[in-house]
């Protein structure tokens, strides 16, 4: 704990004080950038990375942190602790960014401005956006992924435990920096930070960009680690065809994390350079072009939605056989579809910028390629329905959220066709229809799957069961509230109301009010979720090693698993989905 506090203090003092002091010698933003890099390194070193590094230099073994709860606030190389740390950080960000959503919905409950200025609204919206992007990218991948992937493939840890710690520990400074960005100047760019807007304005935007770059590197490191772990650390006998489908989905997501994230990091670094060093990559007056950023940005940010959704596919396809008591239907097709999505995800970015000023006829191939993604995505639905068909469904919490995923992601996918189709997209682009669509894919997809996975693996992680009643309350409040928010916004958006706006014409007062009420209902659902965790931590019944009668390897060890996971390296001789014989 004291390590962490010392590290945080050093980070704050070096970044703020150093930035201020260097600002007298070099341009202010160049000073802040250098000071932040120094602050980040000091934070990593003092938080415990220094000791791990010296241990490595000396060839010594870095001991696992103590067994009590304090290990969760310490620097450790244990993938299970890092997984829980990721979960904790992503839940904190979920709450902060969720409160931002509530502030926006309260403002939008009636036409006219209620209590926010345009300036404040823009800032709140930008923070909600980037915060939820962080949640969608880390909750499953960083949290559940870190915890479950080594266990489910029969490994003792990730392939690169130090890299794993690094990718986690640069995330909290990035989150703090994001919040600090609010302290100076308005954040009026949205999370996409398109130049020239992102190059103008106060240094708050620089902090935002630096935080985004840092989170990006966290993701790149995570991707390298996941990819290597799944590829090289599988237990004896676990051929690719015997690999749990969640591991397949993390493998696919890992490929995108490594290949795409570096591109957004480059585009953000170019933006920082335009601000801090006076270059003109995106400045027309200096010979640059603003449109270049959008191409680079979406070359990452479209694949990024598959970093969010592929592991979600993995989670629900992992849960379905367990709660249907049947083998996974179309296993090979599902794994192949994941890889197909990886390839296609890199070829569709320009559908985000049909109205940005690109060459007209280039829109046609991007439209066709985008629509092609519906084929591998449809396969996931086939596998889900096929698995449940003639099964014996147990509608426990993980299964409930999985069914919720199927319904909402279906709506998200189908409404995406309007945005892939050039004629309809030209009208719908940047309206609230888009907002509704991507919330149906990312919340309806990734977040529903995250909750499914959380209810599924929580007994393994904590050793305690969660309450089924509160889980159901969570589900129904969240699902109904979520629909109440975004179904009306499809209508408001299709009527032509643009997004990113603090106000709207009075004729849309009723659907907007419904959306605001829905947001608060969904928030109460999330509250039930946290109450459930708190009650389980205090007095939840102990979880058996295999409370769901599942067959993947993580359920063969105690709940929670011992350090190093497996006393003896497991050997695998069949697929993990051999249900139904009994």
């Amino acid at each position: 704990m004291s390590d962490l506090l010392r590290a945080l203090a050093a980070f704050a003092v070096l970044t703020a004080g150093g930035g201020w002091a260097l600002g007298f010698l070099v341009p202010l933003e160049a000073g802040i950038t250098s000071a932040y890099l120094a602050g980040l390194l000091a934070f990593l070193w003092l938080a415990g990375g220094g000791r791990a590094m010296l241990d490595w230099v000396d060839g010594a073994h870095t001991e696992h942190a103590a067994a009590d709860w304090t290990r969760f606030v310490r620097f450790t190389l244990d993938h299970k602790v890092i997984g829980v740390q990721y979960l904790a950080v992503s839940m904190v960000v979920l709450v902060v960014a969720g409160l931002m959503a509530l502030i926006m919905r309260a403002e939008l409950a009636a036409p006219g401005l209620q209590f926010l200025s345009h300036d404040r609204y823009n800032s709140v919206m930008t923070m909600h956006g980037i915060g939820m992007i962080v949640v969608a990218l880390t909750a499953i991948v960083g949290g559940l992924g870190n915890y479950v992937v080594p266990l489910t493939i029969g490994a003792r840890d990730m392939a690169f435990p130090r890299l794993n710690a690094l990718s986690f520990w640069i995330l909290p400074p990035a989150v703090l920096l994001l919040l600090a960005a609010l302290a100076n100047g308005s954040m009026d760019t949205g999370w996409r930070a398109y130049p020239p807007l992102a190059v103008r304005g106060d240094w708050g935007k620089l902090l935002f960009l630096l935080a985004f770059i840092t989170a990006g590197f966290s993701s790149i490191f995570g991707g390298v680690n996941t990819l290597t772990t799944v590829w090289t650390m599988r237990a004896k006998g676990m051929t690719l065809r015997r690999m749990p489908i969640f591991a397949w989905s993390m493998l696919a997501a890992g490929i995108i994390m490594v290949m795409a994230t570096s591109v957004v990091a480059a585009s953000l670094i170019m933006t920082v350079s335009d601000r801090a060093l006076g270059t003109a990559f995106f400045d027309a007056a200096g010979g640059g072009t603003a449109l270049l950023y959008q191409h680079l940005f979406w070359f990452y940010s479209h694949p990024a939605v598959y970093i969010m959704i592929l592991p979600a596919f993995g989670v629900i396809l992992e849960i379905l056989p367990v709660f249907s008591r049947k083998p996974l239907f179309g296993y090979g097709l599902a794994a192949g579809s994941f890889l197909g999505i990886v390839v296609l995800s890199f070829l569709v970015w320009a559908h985000h910028i049909f109205t940005s000023g690109m060459w007209d006829f280039l829109k046609i191939p991007f439209m066709i390629l985008t629509e092609l993604i519906s084929i591998p995505t449809g396969v996931v639905f086939l596998c889900a329905l096929g698995t449940m068909w003639a099964g014996k469904l147990r509608l426990r919490a993980p299964m409930l959220w999985t069914l919720g995923f199927l319904v909402h992601f279906l709506v998200g996918g189908l409404t995406g066709i309007f945005l892939a189709d050039v004629p309809t997209d030209i009208h719908l682009h940047n309206t609230l229809f888009v907002t509704a669509h991507f919330h149906f894919t990312i919340v309806g997809g990734t977040i529903f799957a995250f909750f499914a996975g959380f209810y599924y693996w929580f007994p393994k992680i904590s050793g305690r069961m969660l309450g089924e009643g509160l889980a159901k309350a969570h589900f129904w409040l969240f699902a109904l509230g979520f629909n109440a928010v975004f179904l009306p916004l499809f209508y408001v958006g299709a009527r032509g109301v643009p997004r990113h706006t603090a106000d709207y014409p009075p004729e849309f007062a009723v659907p907007q009010l419904v959306a605001s009420v829905g947001a608060f209902a969904a928030a109460f659902g999330v509250l039930a979720f946290f109450v459930n965790i708190w009650r389980s931590a205090r007095s939840g019944p102990a979880a058996a090693a295999d409370p769901w009668q599942a067959k993947t390897l993580e359920w063969t060890v105690s709940s929670p698993p011992p350090p190093e996971n497996f006393a003896r390296e497991p050997e695998v001789s069949e697929t993990p989905y051999s249900y139904g014989e009994a």
Binding site: L197, A284, G330, G357, L382, T415, D421, H427, H429
Partner: protein, 236 residues
Amino acid sequence: MSDWKRAVPTIGALAAVLTFLLNRLLEAVHLMPLAVASREAAIVDSAFAAVLRIDVLVFSVVIAALVYIVAFFRADSGEGARFTHSPGRLVETVWLAFSCVLTFGLAAYGSEEFLALRGDRRADVDVQVKAVQWSWDFSYPAYGATPATMILPRGKRARISLSSDDVLHALSIPAFRLKQDALPGRVTTLYVTPLLVGRYEIVCAELCGLDHTAMSSTVEVVEPEEFEARLKGDTW
């Protein structure tokens, strides 16, 4: 295979009812803007309606199957889970073939509608629009006119040339179903043939900073004679 004898008609009936109800509901709600004020708006609306029909059908079939599964394949139904791997290949192939046909059909239809929407690049009227934080300036070089709102003649093809002096903006006219970004350092163009006399809203559809929310204006579609009179005279 007794499952299928009961399932196919049940799911089919359920899907048919759902499709009917949803289509009725969506007709009543009317998702697109009420004014169809340009040639382009009619094309976009027909594309939207076509995709919506397909979406409703696919949604209904999947939801009907899900409802059937949840209703009939429960753990408390008394039987053990039965499964066989044999029909897998067939179902997989049919599903893939069906989604390929649907996808390529949609893509072909979308391409055709896009070409129709794009129309030809010849224009009767030239309008220059300059976007600045946070307002729109309109000018008509042929007339030397700079009216406070955009004025377009009904039934004539207009070329709208966009540029920006500061950040990105987007000219969006929902009644025309059209939208185009304005960028600093280059000129982008938009073609439209207004068909309905009236006043329609212009909004900014690209986040452009502080007062993005308030960056709106008006386009007036008038008869060609009135257009000439107003731009040549001083009545703008």
